[in-house]
């Protein structure tokens, strides 16, 4: 829970600042005939997580009203999307212009040999529809960039950065910061997994640009390799953080603005605060 004030309530059916459901604006998800009460089928479907205080009845309704935009549908995005769909996030947008390659199957667990050559966004859309047909799932078979991101994320409750290159990651950070949309970042390479939750409107938390500016970040799994479950660890953490936020808003018991770095071989995990940098071109851009 951040100490800073937050302003994420405009045009959203759930007040993410104070954690209350606002049904006055109506639901985003009409596919299952949403009402302020869960249906008997919903209670059965989500029974295991409804038992958790961090989700409960109101949190489940908030999940149904939420909109998660997932950018990148590889090892991270294909798994986080599966968990968000399973948990009942009512509106999910899947974004990736890539196709399924046989080298993906080692770690991108939502795809199989039947998907080879297909667009990832469409393949994943079809798989998630089998998981939860109640949801409003959209897919965009295009690569995100600084030009299309403002439109792609405009109605998002939160964005999940599941991409695999530093250029797009910086663009996603800038776009979400300018729109004050919370951002959940995860990454993996070798046996290392890392993650960062950013409120994107805080005077006390830095942004991704504060972290990576002037640093030649190791970019992808192609040159350095990665073990499949290590990407999964990053994705599971990212999905957990996003679900807790989507259920309870800024009242969720999650840590903002701390960079996690884990070594899956040693089983070690470190957490470092990320304060704003006075020289950051994103944080300090008032235009």
């Amino acid at each position: 829970m951040p100490s800073q004030s937050v302003h994420h309530t405009a045009n959203r059916p759930f007040n993410y600042a104070n954690g209350s459901v606002n049904t006055a604006n109506g639901p985003r998800n009409n596919a299952s005939g949403f009402s302020p009460q869960l249906s008997h089928q919903d209670i059965q479907r989500y029974s295991r997580q409804l038992l958790l205080d961090c989700i409960d009845h109101d949190g489940q309704l908030n999940l149904a009203n939420a909109h998660a935009v997932i950018v990148g549908l590889g090892g991270l995005g294909s798994l986080t999307a599966r968990y968000l769909a399973g948990a009942g996030v009512g509106n999910i947008t899947l974004i990736d212009g890539d196709t399924v390659d046989i080298s993906n199957l080692q770690r991108q667990v939502s795809y199989n040999e039947m998907h080879l050559g297909e667009l990832k966004a469409k393949s994943l859309y079809n798989e998630l529809r089998k998981v939860n047909s109640d949801l409003n799932i959209q897919f965009k078979s295009k690569f995100a960039d600084s030009n299309n991101l403002p439109t792609l994320i405009s109605s998002a409750t939160c964005v999940l950065d599941c991409t695999d290159n530093i250029t797009v990651r910086r663009q996603i950070n800038a776009a979400t910061y300018r729109a004050s949309i919370p951002l959940f970042i995860a990454a993996a390479s070798g046996l290392t997994w890392q993650a960062l939750n950013l409120p994107q409107n805080s005077a006390t938390c830095g942004c991704y640009e504060c972290l990576v500016n002037n640093i030649a970040v190791r970019e992808d799994c192609l040159s350095k390799g990665v073990l499949g479950p290590v990407v999964g660890m990053a994705a599971c953490h990212q999905a957990t953080q996003a679900l807790l936020f989507l259920a309870k808003g800024f009242k969720a018991d999650i840590k903002w603005g701390h960079y996690l770095t884990g070594n899956a071989g040693l089983g070690s995990l470190q957490s470092f605060a990320l304060p704003p940098s006075s020289t950051c071109e994103v944080c300090n851009d008032t235009n």
Partner: protein
């Protein structure tokens, strides 16, 4: 000039103060390729490494950023 003790990636190290993060990296020939630095568990932006000075008993963590997915 004063000798101070710092802890770098869980290893105790004696250095001469004043010393900045940039100077520490150079002095110890530490690999900063793709690296981020946290001083006392708070990340220091790379642009501020040369103006961030260490004190006695400071903790420094140097770790490699990754961006794969």
């Amino acid at each position: 000039m004063t000798q101070i003790k710092v802890n770098v990636n869980n290893q105790p190290m004696d250095v001469i103060s004043p010393i900045s993060l940039s100077e520490l990296i150079a002095l110890k020939q530490l690999n900063d390729d793709g690296a981020a630095i946290a001083k006392n568990a708070a990340i220091v932006s790379k642009k501020e490494w040369s103006t961030t000075y260490l004190k006695d008993n400071d903790t420094v963590d140097i770790f490699t950023l990754v961006a794969g997915g």
